[in-house]
Symmetry: C2
DNA sequence: ATATTTTTAGACAGACTTGTCCAAATCGTC
DNA sequence: GACGATTTGGACAAGTCTGTCTAAAAATAT
């Protein structure tokens, strides 16, 4: 009897739209105030809904935190995957392309709102709710490192790099990229693109000094 | 948990000893629960004093936080200074000595209780109480980096290293040393000495691949 | 237009904290 | 042993926050 539109979907859409705005507001407040300091009235106000609606959707405060963490980790994983796909597999100017890749990685994954939130919440509540981040801990960084290591291994095989242990090289690449940003990130500062580019340039230069070959040997 | 079974101990402590044990307990609780979640009754219990004594010594909660941060930053600065003094200025086996130095740096400064506390509190409350960490922000990492950069510059001048920008090299050295420890540190895990040594070994190897000279050229 | 579901505003109890006050117990010192 | 300073335990008010409940309002589907 439902001719054209499916009521479940439209209901679901408004439902999930509110759900989403609540999660967004909760992420913002949790990040600013911490879990203990977060106020559900404030989250409701920031989401533009009543407090009761927050409880209708997510139950209690701890449950809301779970929903927020799940959402954010999914978004981050998607961003990482998407950015990894832009790795310079067939480079022409390896240095320039690695710099651009590093900038993308920072902009899309490490330095954006989600990255900041996850880092902050991880450090604040990671030991209190280990099960919250167990999934991410297992599949997040390890998978990223492995994927990046595979790319570097391929570049090494193609004669661009000279790498003993691709896993170590991948971790060190990421560490170098963040070397100049640590302090700003820990303080929650927002980084200009110029800063990101400078940091990536320094990092890639050193990375290639350690692992680059003087000249490529493939066609 | 409750030190009620050993009242003699708490009774016998002097005024300044109590002050110190309060700051220690407060640091522990602030670090575990965050500022908003920290409970003064719990701090008092963990310090083995009554709640009133906490208020007698440090006034209100915010004041207690100030005292704790001051104490911790002083201890960290002392540890950094002390460790920097053990930098291999006249190395025989540069690689081995840099590895040992990196291990000391992590054990005494970055990975110990104080370092964990400062990192955690900085990220949780750094943007809420910027004046709390303003002094450290200005004089902490910048001074460390500058001091380390000066050491590397001297090594370069002595023919051990080939470095364009000693400041960048110093930051990258620290970043590399932490590359394998990031995840464990963010989760608050305690690191075995073997892990620290392995991380330092990987870091120094890459650092010397980038900046080391094949052979020293001085006497 | 009507029926059903969702949302809202507000009140509410229960629990928890902070910071103060005070009288009694205890400590260091003479 | 006595004295002054410190510490203690407990009571206390004032405030905040969570989570529930209710009846009215709004939105949506039929």
């Amino acid at each position: 009897m439902t001719p054209a539109d499916t009521p479940d979907i439209s209901v679901h859409r408004s439902h999930s739209a509110k759900r989403h705005s609540i999660i967004d507001a909760a992420a913002s407040v949790f990040c600013r105030e911490g879990f203990a300091g977060a106020n559900i009235d404030l989250i409701a106000a920031e989401a533009g809904v009543s407090r009761q609606t927050v409880y209708n959707h997510h139950g209690d405060k701890e449950n809301l935190l779970v929903a927020v963490v799940r959402e954010i980790t999914e978004r981050i994983n998607a961003g990482v995957f998407e950015t990894l796909a832009t790795f310079p597999d067939k480079p022409v100017d390896l240095e320039a392309e690695l710099v651009a890749f590093a900038v993308r990685l920072n902009q899309n994954c490490m330095c954006n709102r989600d990255g900041k939130f996850l880092r902050k919440l991880l450090q604040a509540e990671g030991s209190r709710y280990p099960e919250l981040f167990a999934g991410w801990r297992e599949h997040g960084p390890a998978k990223t490192w492995a994927a990046l290591a595979a790319r570097f291994a391929r570049l090494a095989h193609a004669g661009w790099l000279e790498i003993d242990d691709p896993d170590v090289a991948a971790r060190q690449f990421l560490a170098l990229v963040n070397a100049d940003l640590q302090m700003a990130m820990i303080f929650g500062d927002t980084l200009s693109e110029e800063q990101l580019r400078q940091a990536a340039t320094n990092a890639v230069r050193t990375f290639l000094r350690a692992f680059g070959k003087a000249r490529r040997n493939t066609t």
